[in-house]
Amino acid sequence: MISTRGLSYQYPGGPLLEFPDVEVAQGSVLILSGASGCGKSTWLALVAGLVAPTSGAVTVADQPLSALKNIATDAWRAKAIGFLPQKLHLSAALTVAQNLALAQWAAGHAENRQQIAEALEALGVGALASRHPSQLSGGQAQRVALARAVLLQPRVVLADEPTASLDDAAAADAVALLLATARRQQATLVIATHDARVAALLAATAAGDNGFQRLSLLAPVLLNA
């Protein structure tokens, strides 16, 4: 569940970004769309508790973020948020399984090999556990990164441009995989994208379910520019 009220963020010496209020029920899907520069990344950062809003309030997975302080925010983010970055950022120095172990380490959890094996298995990449990221295809790497995102069973999954530079078939696969994974975990899924195909794919596959909503961000209002 994600809800925002009167959210805005002021970049030091930069534009003031104001975000429309949004209310996303637990287990449903939000598409965050808009041209680049209109604040998709900032919105993700606000929801992940990485930056504090200039004004307004965010509640994610029943947690009002204003109540959290630094270290507590890190610990909360580890538990509540799964993140699929656009560039995946799998560490080349580590094997696939170690990349997932790195997530457990970052979250301050003890290494849990069974959890890692299960997460990889669920995404059909269990056999690749001992490979290095350089030995993976693009699709395999994305699955591994998604396995890492949902490893700690987060309530919210944030996916940043998951279909960028993918062809139509691969994009459809990626969206379907995201949906299936989020549904299995009963996690709220946020897809930040400027790719129009995502909405169309969601409309086709998610019909009859909780459905999805769209949050279209507009170019920021430049004050005193």
Partner: protein
Amino acid sequence: MKTLFFAWRYLWSRPLGAALNLLLLSLGLGSITFLLLVSYQLDHAFDRDLAGIDVVVGAKGSPMQLILAGVFHIDVPPGNVPLQAIRSLEQHPMVARIIPISLGDSVSGFRIVGTTLAYPAHYQAVLASGRMWDAPMQVVLGASVARTLGLGLGDTFAGSHGLGGGGHMHGDNRYRVVGILQAGGSVLDRLVLTDTASVWKVHEDHGAEDDGKDEPMDAEREITLALVQYRTPMAAMSFPRFVNTTTAMQAAAPALEISRLLRMLGLGTEVLRAFAGVLLLTAGLSVFIALWSAVRERRGDLALLRMLGAPPAKVAALLLWEAVWLGVLASMLGLLLGQAFAAALAWLLQLDHSLLIGGMVWPLELWSVPALALGVALLSALLPAFSAYRISVLELLQSR
């Protein structure tokens, strides 16, 4: 524990760079280890061989030469002195004990030292086998002499004239080995000890046998020098002056000469130390550059760690541990290198039969090497770690 593991993996994700940094650090630390070991061993050797010898009396000449020849057996003596003159010093009220030393011959480069039983007793020498000499032409071998020459009890050998090898052989007067000393780490290890009378006997070319006419012979006899122990520390003030002004001999105080020698050596060590310092500084800079570029290169990965819930301190710690790994590995390698260099030097010196440095030692000062390694590594990691600490996740999200 896991942090150590991940830091290790990250360190070796760029094997060439890591190996080069390791090499640079190890070389710097190795030179420092080497310097520490050699100066420790030298000090130790000087202290050990000098212990209890207050002054050395011998022929006029360079006082340092007298000390080096008489105490450490690494230089030729300035000349001989009449036995009578030394005998008369024995009567001096400030003198507790005199050990005569007669040099002149050697066997395969090891010096044959004519002396009295007081000499091995002074260094608390212990026999490994056999017994001490009780007649001229019987010798007791130092441990490394026996080992190097392969001589055993009952073996005989001829000395050659001069302190190096290759002099005229005294073929008609053969020495017989009656005892072998345990290795004690002192100068005795590389000496062949015998009675003073042996040296006289070998050099009395005309075959003047010791036929009971001791008194007239004594007047002509010479020894090389004498090691003197004072009865009272006060003697240090007046005894050398007494010898230098009233006799044809000179008295040299080892403590004084050795501190002069060490001061001269000190300049060389300072240069080497500065060189090691520059090496270490270079290594530190190189580690800094490597870690700094690692932070730039892995900016995204590090930011992702923050996204995955790692507090900034944890991200910075990852980098610091990487540096610690380097420091630990480098100190192990550096210590090993330094010890190997010192062992090689000891081996070379031993071939030369000069100052004995050797054996693995671990002086307390050596702990400064790992401390230095960690210090340098951590110092060079400080700025990169701080930059990792400050990494903004927003940048990761915005990098398209």
